[in-house]
Symmetry: C2
Subunit: 245 residues, 2 copies
DNA sequence: ATTCCGAAAAATTTCGAAATCATGCGTTAC
DNA sequence: GTAACGCATGATTTCGAAATTTTTCGGAAT
């Protein structure tokens, strides 16, 4: 585990703990820290350069987001993935996003429309530029997330938005798993544009239909290409353990 | 603030931090720690007998549950309450619980039905016994929560259940606020029974209608009796500050 | 050969001091 | 008289060592 030692500095968040939580989140969402991987304090300490306490706080906030699993007094590990979990997240996302989108279309103002169009434009630009699978590109992931947030940002319910954020993060991890094994589906570009049109055009029924299809298709795609990589026992054999064979 | 000093001992949770989080949660849900109240470490340290770090961890988990607000580097306070927040929680609860109840009725087995009937029976027994407003009784609150959990426990979606738990906690605080100012509405007993009957009788449309009415009526009741107590600036004047006037 | 017990080892959890940051007040310059 | 600066104060945040808990490994008994 030769991650370079980076001095804990408030690059992103206001506090060191928030910064570490953010960086750890990136590692987990991109699956550089694979599902099931145990998170031992000594190793994290070496990678992130923070104390036990600060790391613990970062880990706890990720537990709250469902990205890390805490097992009583037996430490932390990256939350495992499974087909059941993927289906559960997908169904719940459909429920939440449909409702949020309905309300946003009913309540959204000019600024909301502009936010959607801007987010889509930025996403498209990034997709033109990058060559690597977008699932691994930090900027693409950020732009993709911001587009989906923009769609429902006018729904008027902080709770709905918070739930959406959490579910979107958990979905992201599955996208990353499958992105390793397949090229990016260019049809997504069209889907995003259609979603924008229907939403800004206040065609509630069409927009709702499109968002459900978009979410379910993405999940199906992941399941098809990556299912064989689920539910494996965590591959956390150290070099030492592998050598002992 | 003359809370008695109780030695931090693992009465409830497995770890001291989990135990303190549980006890703090109770204080907040019952509004013994009023909304908006600043949570200063020295005071908490005296009340709960734990170190800064442990308290911080407990606070952070309550922040994740939306019961405590963390303001950057300016410490913690009990999350404020407002009519907007009450309406937001209520709408989202309706969405979540209707879907969860639908799925539970479709998938529930014998054990599920028995769980509902048992939970209702326990709740009724407690209601017969107690004299104080139920909102302040720990056992009533626990039984009430377990009845609502039992109704949807068979929905098959861990995510839906987790969201419900979180929203139920946040609602609980509003119930506590209003419970201080009005007697318990005995109609609730009948509502719970009707809810049980429709659910166990697999009458999806009726059950869904009843749960929505139950949630909305409770919220309206709270709003009517307690609205004047919302949005007040936090009453955290110390004796010194009051004296200075 | 297998299971059970106990002690050593490894990991997590807790602690209080030290560092850091925000706030309010007094002083000074304009 | 007003605004701006700087210091003192009180609070939070971070640290690494110490205590507690879990896990592992070896040995003896069944």
């Amino acid at each position: 585990m030769n991650l370079k030692i980076v001095k804990a500095q408030k690059e992103f968040g206001k506090t060191v703990a928030a910064d570490i939580a953010y960086r750890l989140r990136e590692e987990i969402l991109s699956c550089r820290l694979p599902p099931g991987e145990p998170l031992r304090f000594e190793a994290l300490r070496a990678s992130f350069g923070a104390s036990f306490t600060t790391l613990r706080e970062a880990l706890m906030s990720l537990v709250a987001d469902g990205l890390v699993a805490a097992e009583g007094q037996r430490g932390f590990r990256v939350a495992p993935i499974s087909l059941d979990d993927l289906f559960d997240i997908t169904s719940t996302r459909v429920l939440i996003e449909i409702e949020a989108l309905r309300q946003a279309i009913a309540k959204g103002d000019d600024e909301w429309e502009i936010g959607i169009i801007s987010a889509l434009h930025r996403l498209n630009r990034i997709e033109e530029r990058i060559k690597t699978p977008p699932g691994e590109d930090l900027n693409w992931r950020r732009a993709h997330r911001e587009f989906h947030q923009a769609l429902i940002s006018a729904c008027g319910s902080p709770t709905l938005l918070a739930i959406h954020d959490s579910l979107f993060d958990r979905s992201e991890r599955y996208r990353s798993v499958s992105a390793t094994y397949r090229p990016y589906d260019r049809n997504k570009v069209g889907e995003h544009r259609a979603l924008m049109s229907a939403t800004v055009g206040r065609d509630t029924d069409l927009a709702v239909k499109l968002i459900e299809k978009h979410i379910r298709d993405t999940a199906d795609n992941v399941a098809t290409y990556a299912a064989e990589h689920f539910d494996r026992p965590a591959l956390h054999m150290t070099a030492k353990a592998a050598l002992a064979k």
